[in-house]
């Protein structure tokens, strides 16, 4: 199966519930065979979008194309998609086997083929021998696998997963993440995965759409979302981020100079489509890209003086909050064990220098 070619096209898709715009004019493509995540806080419209892909909601406007066909108004049972529900929706009156075979009734399989298909599916989810179990005898993880198998045996073009790991405890969730990724590689089906857990999305996905208030803010691979967020909201949602506000003075050679008021002049790497001089901008830097030093660093770097306000020790790393005059919020700094400032005596209250290289920071428009 070739990747790159698009299997789902969303064209100006919107869904309004009364006056609420759950999904607000979203357009993007999902590529064949990729593991695609819709990431965002609850209420951002990700589940509504997924339910529109499944056919449970009809878009208020716009069109959804699956494999080139407009399916906007096609009912769920006639779509080439299958879904793993948030609570798994395992039929309580049917056994595991009957649950998995549920969608195969109309596929015209012989009894033998059907039994074989179900056995193969049980093997895929490592539940061979569980076919006769009743649904209430299953653990959370097993229910999740059955839901997955039940959807996959229908051979969907796209598999939709609605926060399928949300109901599991942390350890099981991490196991299932690995397994999910493995199954996706084995079967090669396009996965569209809804989650509010950014770590989960970053770990699993080929690409992620970050959603907020019904809009898709940025659609990118995990590392690009982290390293090159395209707006403050994405920057703040994925990981943690320090922001310095100011006005843009000039851009040259991919580096922007910003007047940041009391902090003086700061520099950051700027994209080609950076705004013109004079615009209000923010410089965003990840805590782990900042360095702390007792002495003023050499020139050529951005440097701010402050005082250490808090220190939190995590063993492999330490987190500091540095209070800076003229800034309402303290600056967050994360340091690895190797370059931690002090190992014993408390450093709280001591003056300190924060510095970073211009290419470590991102320029964002306000």
């Amino acid at each position: 199966m070739s990747t790159g070619e698009s299997i789902i096209s969303l064209r100006s898709v919107a869904k309004h519930f009364g006056s609420v715009r759950a999904v607000d004019d979203v357009s993007f493509d999902i590529r064949r065979g990729e593991f695609f995540s819709l990431l965002g806080p609850s209420g951002c419209g990700k589940t509504t979008l997924l339910r529109m892909l499944a056919g449970f909601e009809v878009p208020t406007s716009g069109a959804i194309l699956i494999d080139g066909q407009d399916v906007s108004t096609v009912p769920p049972h006639a779509r080439p998609t299958n879904m793993v529900f948030q609570n798994y929706a395992i039929f309580p009156h049917l056994s595991v086997r009957e649950n998995i075979a549920y969608g195969l009734r109309k596929k015209g399989l012989s009894k033998q083929e059907l039994a074989q298909t179900v056995e193969d599916a049980l093997a895929l989810i490592k539940m061979t021998g569980y076919g006769d179990r009743a649904s209430h005898q299953l653990s959370g993880g097993q229910r999740q696998r059955v839901a997955l198998a039940r959807a996959l045996v229908c051979k969907p073009k796209v598999l939709l997963l609605d926060e399928p790991l949300g109901a599991l405890d942390k350890k099981l969730r991490e196991e299932m993440q690995l397994e999910l990724r493995q199954i996706q590689r084995t079967v090669g089906v396009t996965f569209v995965f809804v989650t509010h857990d950014q770590e989960e999305a970053l770990a699993l996905s080929d690409r992620i759409a970050v959603m907020s208030r019904g809009k898709a803010l940025q659609i990118d691979a995990a590392n690009r979302l982290y390293e090159a967020p395209n707006c403050k909201e994405v920057a703040a949602f994925i990981g943690s981020m320090n922001f310095f506000q100011g006005s843009l003075r000039e851009t040259s050679g991919g580096t922007a100079l910003v007047d940041a008021g009391p902090l003086g002049q700061l520099s950051a790497s700027a994209a080609e489509n950076a705004p013109g001089p004079g615009s209000q901008v923010s410089i965003a830097v990840r805590p782990e890209k900042l360095r702390l030093a007792w002495d003023k660093p050499a020139a050529g770097q951005n440097a701010i003086a402050g005082r250490i306000a808090t220190e939190a020790y995590f063993g492999d790393r330490s987190h500091y909050h540095v209070a800076v005059e003229g800034l309402a919020e303290p600056i967050a700094v994360a340091m690895q064990k190797s370059d931690r400032l002090l190992d014993d005596a408390s450093s709280i209250g001591r003056p300190v220098w924060i510095s970073w290289a211009p290419e470590a920071a991102v320029l964002l428009t306000e």
């Binding site: 049972h77 006639a78 998609t81 009156h93 299953l138 959370g140």
Partner: protein, 267 residues
Amino acid sequence: MSKRFDLLTIYGIVFLVFLYAPVLLLPVFSVNDATVAIFPLKGFTLKAYGQMVNNPALLAALKNSLVVAVGVSVVSTAFGLLAAMGVTRYKLPGQGPVMSVIMLPLVVPSIILAVALLVLVRQVFDIPLTLWTVAAGHILICVPFSMMVLMSRLEGFDRSLEEASADLGESGWMTFWRVTFPIAMPGIVASLLMCFTISLDEYVLAFFLSGLDQTLPIFLYGQLRFPQRLPMTLALGTTILIVSTIIVIFSEILRRRGVQSTKPTGL
């Protein structure tokens, strides 16, 4: 848990005795070899049961009651199911008042329901009183019961099960038959049994709305006036009691077990 025989536990047991003792007199005296229900008990006899099964009027009334009860339970459960589905799966504006009206027959004294229906049937439409009119009256009081039973069954019903079925390729009707109906089944059977017992036992509506064809409670009521027929009446009462108790136990177990199994245990 320590087993405590405190006042409350004693009360609970005494209460059960009070609840059951009067009714249990019926079977006791029905096999007593005497024509009056007084202590001390005399010998054991099944004579009264023999009289009972050889009484043609009784058998005719029994047949009428069965026919009405079966019809009433099926029709009421169908109406109850539709209404319960409508209420449990949609947020209905004005649901409160609509529900109050449907549940009204549960509280309105049955004599009011009876005379109101009688006025409608006899004086407005001038329909002759038959078992049909009795059945209509019974449907009126059974629908709210059926609806309550089915609502509690469907309330925990997870909408995503139906969505899952649609997602797996089944149309609306097939989803109903393959998912909704089987899951609601214990509730449906419980409702059928419950409506059956209600109709079988109901007296007031049947009395006002029946014509020449008697139902069993009307027959029974008629017998109460004749002291010499007391043994047979007791035997009949005992039989009705046993049959309806079995049905009730069965439907209650079904209903309560059914409610429990909807909750997924794995989560």
